[in-house]
Amino acid sequence: MIWVNQILQGVLLGGYYALLACGLSLMFGVMRIINLAHGDLAVLAAFLVWLLVAQGGMPLLPALFVVLAAMAVLGAVMQRTMLERSLRSGILVPLLSTFGLSIVIENLLFAQFGADTRSLAPAIDTLAYDSWSLTNDIYVGQLSVLIFVVAVALLTGLQLLLSRTALGRALRATAENPDIAELVGINSRAVYAIAAAIAVVTAAIGGTFLAMRATFAPYAGPSQLIFAFEAVVIGGLNSLWGTLIGGIVLGVAQNIGAQLDPHGFLIAGHTVFLLVLAARLVLSSELRSRLRLRREYSP
């Protein structure tokens, strides 16, 4: 029963990872940017919500929406002023510039708020620890379930946006080829800015949930980024459902690892990530050689 419990908790944890990861996945999918500041943007949003709620006395939901709106603007501005320029200089420069942005955000937060760890748990009252009991042995935290539901809803929404709407078609077309997208009338710069805004908003949602379920501090971003990054790689790039599955696989692996050994949480997660990564590399080279064979024999 303990294993069922750990797997269930792992699935719910995976929802949180998927929430953090979907923005990373979207940004890579559309702009080919690996945003190393993604975790720090999540933490920045957590600080902003905390500032409005714990310091400013605002109710949580309105504060969250204010912050999400601000983060959307920040995402678009970041794309227009920084990422767009760095994209013109090849694939390495965006990596470096988001790394720089990550350091800037961390140290600005540190300068402003100090090194104290903080949490939004007090702001959500009993939701922080309330749970539903499924059996005598298995309890699920209400907040964990809420995070999972929000993650699934957000991923479904993003998937529908991409597959069903004109904006989604423009996003996919620009992702495939921005120059040709321009030639069919798509403003690729605006599409990029929208994609960045959406990605940063999802990071902000993830960061707010981080603040509710645990604690956060100015330098907490990279440790969140690594889980998001692993979820994206396990699930496969360019697939939002893959990101959810990747998050769940990571969460389950971590929880099973923790059950096996108190140190197993991180080790098991990283091991699964490395195994999947290695398998992908082997499979993709095999796939490529097979495709090459087929191409040679087809007329």
Binding site: R172, E176, L183, G185, I186
Partner: protein, 242 residues
């Protein structure tokens, strides 16, 4: 007034000057065929008109309005659509999505998915197929359909027969000739001289970045064009152009 006017256009690829001071005009309803050897600057000229290549000098006017400084998507909104050489569909999207995505500029006009399917009936059964899985002819039809979905006033066609089987070329040109009969203004690049002379109202021959011969298609002989094409006896070609 001409719908498209290009004035003293120069375009470079780094140090290579691909287009050297080209001026041309296309009137409403006219079909201008650009011919010339590989590397003569035809594709660069078309891309510069569409906004995909930034010219080094010169002006591009659409219906008298200067569009030289506009980015490509703004020119699409003004009514210029390019069918690029090599077709360049979005392979991960279906035929239908490739057509619908071209509604981004929201230019009003008669073109709908249904009308594109009427113009290219071979696309009808392939509507939900991914563009990457199409045959060359179907890809070309989709590429032209995608350009038409922007409701262009001026259609730029770059080597639509390139890499297609003869029967597919025939089918594409049948559809194009129907478009032309409906009054579409077209600037096309075509390697097949016979086809270019038959479809076009006017022909311009490019050599090394310049237009060396220009005139009504009906009045032009194959010999004149061949000489201009290869740069043989340039004086003869100039004489014919003036």
């Amino acid at each position: 007034m001409s719908l498209l006017a290009v004035e003293h256009l120069e375009a470079r690829h780094g140090l290579l000057q691909a287009v050297r001071g080209v001026s041309l005009a296309v009137a409403e309803g006219e079909i201008l065929a650009l011919i010339g050897a590989n590397g003569a600057g035809k594709t660069t000229l078309l891309r510069a008109i569409a906004g995909a290549h930034r010219p080094a000098a010169g002006r591009i006017l659409l219906d008298g309005a200067d569009v030289t400084a506009l980015r490509a998507h703004r020119r699409v909104a003004q009514g210029i659509a390019l069918v690029p050489e090599g077709r360049w569909l979005f392979p991960g999207m279906t035929v239908e999505e490739n057509l619908l995505v071209a509604r981004a500029s929201r230019r009003s006009g008669p073109w709908t998915v249904e009308r594109v399917l009427d113009a290219f009936p071979n696309l009808r059964p392939r509507l939900k197929a991914y563009a990457g899985s199409l045959s060359g002819g179907e890809q070309q039809a989709t590429a032209i359909g995608r350009a038409l979905m922007t409701n262009p006033r001026l259609l730029l066609l770059d080597e639509v027969s390139l890499g297609l089987a003869p029967i597919a070329v025939e089918r594409v040109y049948q559809s194009l000739e129907r478009l032309i009969a409906e009054g579409m203004t077209v600037l096309l690049v075509e390697q097949d001289l016979g086809r270019a002379l038959r479809v076009a109202t006017r022909v311009a021959c490019m050599l090394e970045g310049r237009i060396v011969l220009e005139g009504a298609a009906a009045a032009m002989t194959r010999e004149q064009v061949t000489q201009a094409y290869f740069g043989l006896g340039r004086d003869v070609a100039r004489g014919a152009a003036s």
